[in-house]
């Protein structure tokens, strides 16, 4: 079976003034559909950069990156945006909910951006699974960290993305809420065969995944 994510010699160099800062120095990674993969490594090893490239937020500087058969190294910014809209869901450490919208609106806006319209059945199913039915009319400022992250997960999966990319989803949560969020991600993976790539510093979080990938200095050192 073709992997849903395949990178080969993936490089990313940031320019800070006249200085070139390599964030990825040739990362090779294969992820198959339905896998739950944790990426671990020290700060600055390139984990978030890898996630941003796989999510189409930034282009690679070199190497190959195929996501669901699409070669990101040859795609324009608009193409990657379109791809992200339909195939990728993001969960961030800082939740990143829109503060002026309610939880319900934060979830619905993802469907609106995708352009397929509101799907009430999918909405109800996701909201039930994440247990946020009674929080839907609250704004993010009125929700706890755990609740906000559950809303963020709901937003990420409402459009049934091929891949869920999670950037330290438990980084801002206490251990109880971390466990709830990890359990939900695990449930998503098992129930819907949701492919998940999760970055984490937390060994307990990494243990929930099927596979743990270790990074150092912009490369994958063990898989």
């Amino acid at each position: 079976m073709e992997p849903i994510i395949a990178t080969q010699g993936l490089k990313k160099i940031y320019r800070v003034g006249k200085v070139e800062v390599p964030a990825l120095r040739g990362a090779d990674l294969l992820v198959h559909e339905g896998e739950f993969v944790a990426v671990v490594g020290p700060s600055g090893c390139g984990k978030s950069t890898l996630l941003h490239i796989l999510g189409g937020l930034t282009p690679p500087s070199g190497g190959k990156v195929l996501v669901d058969g699409n070669d990101f190294s040859t795609m324009t910014d608009a193409d990657r945006t379109r791809f992200r809209r339909h195939k990728i869901g993001f969960v961030f450490q800082r939740f990143n909910l829109l503060p002026t919208l309610t939880a319900r609106q934060n979830i619905i806006i993802a469907q609106h951006i995708q352009g397929n319209g509101f799907n009430p059945h999918r909405f109800e199913a996701v909201v039930q699974m994440l247990g946020i039915q009674d929080k839907l009319d609250h704004k993010p400022s009125a929700l706890s960290g755990g609740e906000q992250q559950r809303v963020a997960i709901a937003r990420a999966v409402i459009c049934e993305p091929k891949i869920l990319l999670a950037d330290e989803p438990t980084g801002n949560l206490d251990s109880d809420n971390s466990q709830i969020v990890l359990n939900m991600m695990r449930a998503l993976n098992r129930s819907y065969r949701q492919t998940i790539l999760m970055i984490t510093h937390n060994p307990e979080a990494a243990a929930v995944a099927d596979r743990v990938v270790r990074m150092r200095d912009g490369r994958i050192i063990s898989d």
Binding site: T58, N96, L98, T100, I109, I113, Q114, R155
Partner: protein, 366 residues
């Protein structure tokens, strides 16, 4: 959904929203009131001259249709020659005096009998006609604006006048003195600034104009119809320039405030724009959301501007009853269009900047 987000964003920053709406309202109000006051003044002046009831007016060579600028007098005997032209019913001379004491006013020195025949006579709200050389008639708008009552003394042209009567407005000037007194004050004995000519039938106006041209080749002869058509801002020296300058200032205010408001909005919401981009929002989606926000601000501002203009007009007319402010649908439309275009232009650069933000940088924005 975008509209909900736009409304939520606007409500989230009520002061900035209110300031932006106020700026657009000032822009719309300024355009409507400046145009309304200038056209109102012109139309009201024109209507007053039309209200004299003459069919045509004769002025000296080189005179302007702006009466306040014309004091060059003609021999009053010309009136007798005009009266002999076929189809001329009556000729009324008037000598203009420009008064600058206690405000700017054009005073008509009139020969009461002939002026009454042209106009059909004054309608008196109080008092009656002149009984002495230094009597004056004032119209009801002037009386209201200056709290003038019949019988009181008015100091005009550096002389004291007794207010003989308060008359219905709309007969040329707001202030009338006897012709002989005007001649004494200007040292122009047996002279007139204008002759108001009434024909036996308005259908003869063209014939009479031609006859006057033959009789007095160099004199200015204007039918009232022509005069009315001349009383537009296009024919007023520098008035169009003034109106244009005021409109440019008004539009600049709206443009700059919306620009600044949207620019600070974009800076403040950099992270939110990053979130939208992470969800797959295209550049067009982000530009559209910001332009919708500016449009909504603008539409509310236009509504507030209309309401403000109506209230301001009422207040202006209460404070200055002699002024006239015409708020027209045509200029309401133009003011709204200018505000909308200015706002969209003001929001476009911030919107473009937001659309071009790097999503990774935007998500990392603190």
């Amino acid at each position: 959904m975008v509209n909900r987000m736009v409304v939520s964003n606007l409500l989230h920053r009520p002061v900035r929203t209110a300031v932006s709406i106020l700026a657009v309202a000032i822009e719309v109000g300024m355009v409507m009131l400046v145009v309304g006051m200038t056209t109102g003044l012109l139309h009201e002046t024109a209507k007053r001259v039309e209200g004299v009831g003459a069919d045509l007016m004769v002025q000296p060579p080189g005179a302007s249709f702006l009466f306040g600028l014309t004091q060059a007098p003609m021999p009053i005997k010309i009136g007798d020659r005009l009266a002999q032209i076929p189809h001329v019913l009556v000729v009324a001379p008037a000598l203009f005096q420009f008064n600058s004491t206690g405000g700017l006013n054009l005073i008509y020195g009139i020969d009461m009998p002939s002026f009454n025949r042209v106009t059909g006579g004054f309608v008196y709200h109080a008092g009656g006609p002149f009984t002495a050389p230094y009597d004056i008639l004032v119209d009801d708008w002037y009386a209201k604006a200056n709290h003038v009552k019949a019988g009181q003394t008015l100091n005009l042209l550096n002389h004291d006048f007794r207010v003989a009567g308060i008359v219905e407005h709309g007969k040329g000037a707001r202030l009338f003195i006897p012709l002989a007194t005007a001649e004494d004050l200007s040292g122009a004995r047996d002279k007139a600034s204008i002759f108001f000519v009434k024909c036996t039938d308005p259908g003869y106006t063209e014939d009479v104009v031609n006859a006057i041209h033959r009789l007095l080749p160099k004199y200015q002869v204007l039918s009232v119809k022509e005069y009315m058509s001349l009383m537009t801002s296009n024919n007023m020296p520098a008035l169009n320039t003034f109106i244009t300058a005021m409109i440019v200032v008004a539009v600049a205010i709206g443009f700059l405030v919306i620009f600044l408001s949207m620019y600070t909005t974009i800076t403040e919401r950099t992270r939110e724009i990053g979130i939208l981009k992470s969800l797959g929002a295209s550049k067009g989606y982000i530009i559209e959301a910001i332009l919708r926000e500016a449009s909504l601000l603008c539409l509310v501002g236009i509504g507030a501007g209309y309401a403000g203009s109506v209230i301001a007009r009422k207040l202006i007319l209460e404070a200055f009853p002699t002024l006239s402010v015409e708020l027209t649908m045509g200029w309401a439309f133009w003011a709204a269009l200018l505000a909308l275009v200015g706002s969209l232009l003001g929001a476009f650069y911030p919107a473009l900047r937001a659309a071009q933000l790097d999503p990774v940088d935007a998500l990392a924005y603190e």
